[in-house]
Amino acid sequence: MNEQTLTQNSASGAPRSPASFASSSRWLLWSGIIMLCAWVLVPIYLVALGALGGRQGVYQWPKSFLPTGISLEPFILFLTTEGVVHSFFNSLGAAGITVALSILLGAPAGYALARYNFWGKDSYRLLVLLTRAFPLAILALPLTVSFIRLGLYDTVLGVGLIHTVLALPFAALVTQGIFLGVPKELEEAAWVFGCTRLQAFFKVVAPLALPGLVATAVFAFVISWNEVFAASVLTVRNRTLTAYLLTVLSESPMHYRFAGGLLLILPSVVFIFAVRRYLFAIWGISSK
């Protein structure tokens, strides 16, 4: 009987403490959580107000925290500003190239790391980890010269390439974890029951690894979508959205800046929502 109550108590997280203390610590916990949620969400809400409030909204004083006087019009006006749509599609293009390249190049490497023991494996892992200790975007600086020579300067492909340098090591490490999560026995069973290695990969490994691979792709997308420095250095006319916003920042009105901020945030938030189940698994793996 006594034991029963003890275990029940510890299950509710407050062993041998009076009920009042338990509920007050519970209250403390939840107010902390709600505060931190507000800390994340309120600024986003406010920038949305700024983006949708137009010119009047920006100079309104004192400000209202309620969504009064907002409409989609200022945001649409911003979208139709010259260069915005163009740079939006450039960003999509660069991110698309980054996703394709980092999965195409990174996933095979991840598979090799997960399934084989080979001489040089540790050196390869070291190379991949080494990229993390470098401020990679900085490498865009010397690339300017060679990119001009190769005709890659000021192109979406050029930006995609340098963004792949950022995303590829990540993709290799994460896909290694994903492939390790597909039991080797399943693959062997496929071999025994009549598959070649390639067939086994596409019939058994790929379908099981797919959700993880999609999550990796989303991350590669976000990495590229958000990168500012390299994109700004490597483009002049074919700006990505971040590079465009950075260069027009000083001469554009406030509500345009907020609209730009909102436009940058929206896709990322959707993507993070899409991969939320994998976030922790992925970072658990890749932080090893």
């Binding site: 994340v40 790391l113 490498l139 792949t164 500012v228 976030l279 922790f280």
Partner: protein, 283 residues
Amino acid sequence: MTQNRPWTPYLLILPSVAFLALLFIVPLVQTLWLAVSSDGSPSLDNMQRMVADINFTNSLRNTFLLTLAVVPVQIAIALAMGTMVSKVGTGRETILWIWTIPLGISDLAAGLVWLSILQNTGYFNTILFSLGLIERQTGWLSYQTPVALFFAIAVAEIWRGTAIVMVIIVAGLNQVPKEFKEAAEIFGAGPWTRFRKITLPLIRPALQSALILRTVLAFEVFAVVYALGGRNFPVLVGEAYNWQNQNQNYGVAAAYAVLIMIISLSATLIYLKALKVDPERLP
């Protein structure tokens, strides 16, 4: 079967190795050479120009101060988040999702978000005004208010960069078996002791990689600063950007790049040494 075709793994890693060699190793070497050469012969001209530049000391100091202010706070908030969420049953998924939203937000966007709050007619001033703390609109982001600008940038960086630390730490916490904590509890350890003696040592690898990642990123701080303060608050990467794009001087820009690399690498090495992870002492 590995012995059957020993070249298979090499075939699989080859594309990524070639890619990284071309676009990571080569530019890395180029940067190094560009920084320590002038007109194709070794020289320290670029380094000297960098050091002699009027913004050099400021940008170096600002970057360091920002890193020192931002990284510990991020780690602390992330640990608090991780501890809190581990006590939550229902709603855990939603809370974690909300906390990870900034993970998808670029530093430029984060700068713009906080600009909407901290600009003259912004929400921060509105609150101060309604509390009677200020009488009129007050500027926080100009070169005349360097301390306020510093805090504004730090807050924006903390807001954006904590998510990644949180994710790494929660992933680390997820791997700590509950039995360890329960055992410690049975032997009479209080919450604080449990946290210090059980949790912290066991998530050391996660802490280490979070610290490395965040510190390297903190030395790269650029777009947040640019969005909030323009060129009022010089930082290292910003200087590199200016030398490259405005002054078209690739040599000095490379010198800045090399300096940032050296700082980042040293920080990484220091973390690796200071937080040595002994695999045998992990579960």
